[in-house]
Amino acid sequence: MITSEVTFDELASLMKQAAGITVDPQELKQSAESPFDVFGLDSLGLLGIVGELENRYGTSLPPDSERCRTPREFLNLVNSTLTAGA
């Protein structure tokens, strides 16, 4: 089960792994309110990240997670779900 929250570092590496998007974690953090498409991440990429997190933590994320528009919104939702389930 979860030991720590999903960080911007982890999200950046997930974006690389699941969708091939290279983004500097610092930049992701600084622009956390920018829409994902600014970073080049499309809807399929976000679905891939959700799937990877679900597999990694063995839990389902809410349907809203794949509709999140920004990194901040996404991490807030994911972390509140994962910590609630812990």
Binding site: D42, S43, L44, L47, G51, E66
Partner: protein, 422 residues
């Protein structure tokens, strides 16, 4: 050179009905053929429902080799083609084989067989360096997408241009469209045209699971395919095939064939937007409709029925509604538009051809098939979707439209026999 293109025969293998008669009975009654998957064990999948064909190849006069070795989608196509050729009364022995073409579509081709043998050679997904000695014979026929058109061409001795079309979910419309061009532009006099797919397999179901495009309504499969309904939650996978005999108009008349209707226009465009995404404007599908009507010199107000792509995803239904309103203007609100995917599911590449055959039957019976399961209107989809019950209507010009992954937007226009203005 532009020659008129007649439809002289149809054949269909669809969920809930094999053969044109059974297929039309299903549509006219508004019955649904969606159910829990029986073709494999779907445990663990998000969407475990589909519209399956109750199909036994041995019951349909296929030779032993096709029954034993051919992929299911090839068998579907062979059966549908045989029905269409029989229906057309075409004597393939008396027709110049070099002037007979084949144009068949499929989105995923032999993937079901490819997956089956993959499991064998990889020892259940354990090895990358797969062991070829475990593969079953004739696997190359599943690998090659042109097997589809090749098998049908051999059966009916077609020696003209033979092609397989694979434009995702518009494959069926585009295969009919390519056939239309082939005859209209003089490269053949007869074309066996249509599409087939049998995508109800773990890999295809899993890949649509991954993008949450398919309905998870596993508890109520009969009502899971709900195009244009506010409570829709994705498409329901289907399978099947449909084949038409297209023929140069005078060629058909000269042999005294019954002309069921004409294909009077076709166009396709890319949306250059996203591999799976659709805009809410519907600009490119509207362009396909406009070009199709231009070709046929048909005013948009003459369209009597739109056979929708109507997959039952939110983005599709809005995109398509916008496109039809853009092309037909105020007339869109007076034009019934229904989706037979509500009844037979979405058979990927095959469905475009199945829908064209549904249009041929609608013209024949002068009845608009309904959108089953449509109960709760979506404020953003405000056209007449022909809820649940088939509707008698005078039909002359009928439009079938489709969208596919990759951005393909296609339209085919059918016009009743003798009803085409030129």
């Amino acid at each position: 050179m532009t020659r008129r293109v007649a439809v002289t025969g149809i054949g269909v293998v669809a969920p809930g009905g094999i053969g044109a008669t059974a297929f039309w009975d299903l549509l006219a009654a508004g019955r649904t053929a969606t159910r829990g998957i029986s073709l494999f064990d779907p445990a663990g999948l998000r969407s475990r429902i589909a519209a399956e064909c109750d199909f036994d190849p041995f019951e349909h006069g296929l030779d032993a080799d096709l029954c034993q070795h051919a992929d299911r989608y090839i068998q579907f196509a062979a059966v549908a083609a045989a029905e269409a050729v029989r229906h057309s009364g075409l004597d393939t022995g008396a027709t110049d084989p070099w002037r007979t073409a084949v144009s068949l579509g499929s989105a995923v081709g032999g993937t079901t067989r490819l997956e089956h043998d993959y499991v064998l050679v990889s020892e259940g997904g354990r090895r990358w360096d797969v062991d070829h000695r475990r593969a079953e014979p004739k696997l190359h026929l599943a690998f090659s997408p042109s097997t589809l058109a090749s098998v049908v061409a051999e059966r009916f001795d077609a020696r003209g241009p033979v092609q397989t079309v694979s434009t995702g979910c518009t494959s069926g419309l585009d295969a009919v469209g390519y056939a239309f061009h082939t005859i209209a532009e003089g490269r053949a006099d007869v074309c066996i045209a249509g599409a087939s797919d049998s995508p109800i397999s773990p890999i295809t179901m899993a890949c649509f699971d991954a993008i949450k495009a398919t309905s998870p309504n596993n508890d109520d499969p009969e009502h899971a395919s709900r195009p244009f309904d506010a409570r829709r939650d994705g498409f329901v996978m289907g399978e099947g095939a449909a084949v038409l005999v297209l023929e140069e108009y005078e060629h058909a008349r000269a042999r005294g064939a019954e002309i069921l209707c004409e294909i009077s226009g076709y166009a396709t465009y890319g949306n250059a937007y996203h591999m799976t995404g659709l805009t809410s404007e519907g600009l490119e599908m509207a362009r396909a409709i406009d070009t199709t009507l231009d070709q046929a010199r048909i005013d948009p107000t003459l369209i009597d029925y739109v056979n929708a792509h109507g997959s039952g995803t939110r983005q599709n239904d809005r995109h398509e509604t916008a496109a039809v309103k853009r092309s037909l203007g105020a007339h869109a609100h007076e034009t019934p538009m229904s989706s037979i995917k509500s009844m037979v599911g979405h058979s990927l590449g095959a469905i475009g051809a199945i829908e064209v055959v549904a249009c041929v039957l609608a013209l024949k019976h002068q009845v608009v098939p309904p959108t089953a399961n449509y109960e709760t209107p979506d404020p953003e989809c405000d056209l007449d979707y022909v809820p649940r019950t088939a509707r008698p209507r005078k039909l002359n010009h009928v439009l079938s439209v489709g969208s596919g992954f990759g951005g393909f937007q296609s339209a085919v226009l059918l016009s009743g026999p003798g009803g085409r203005t030129r």
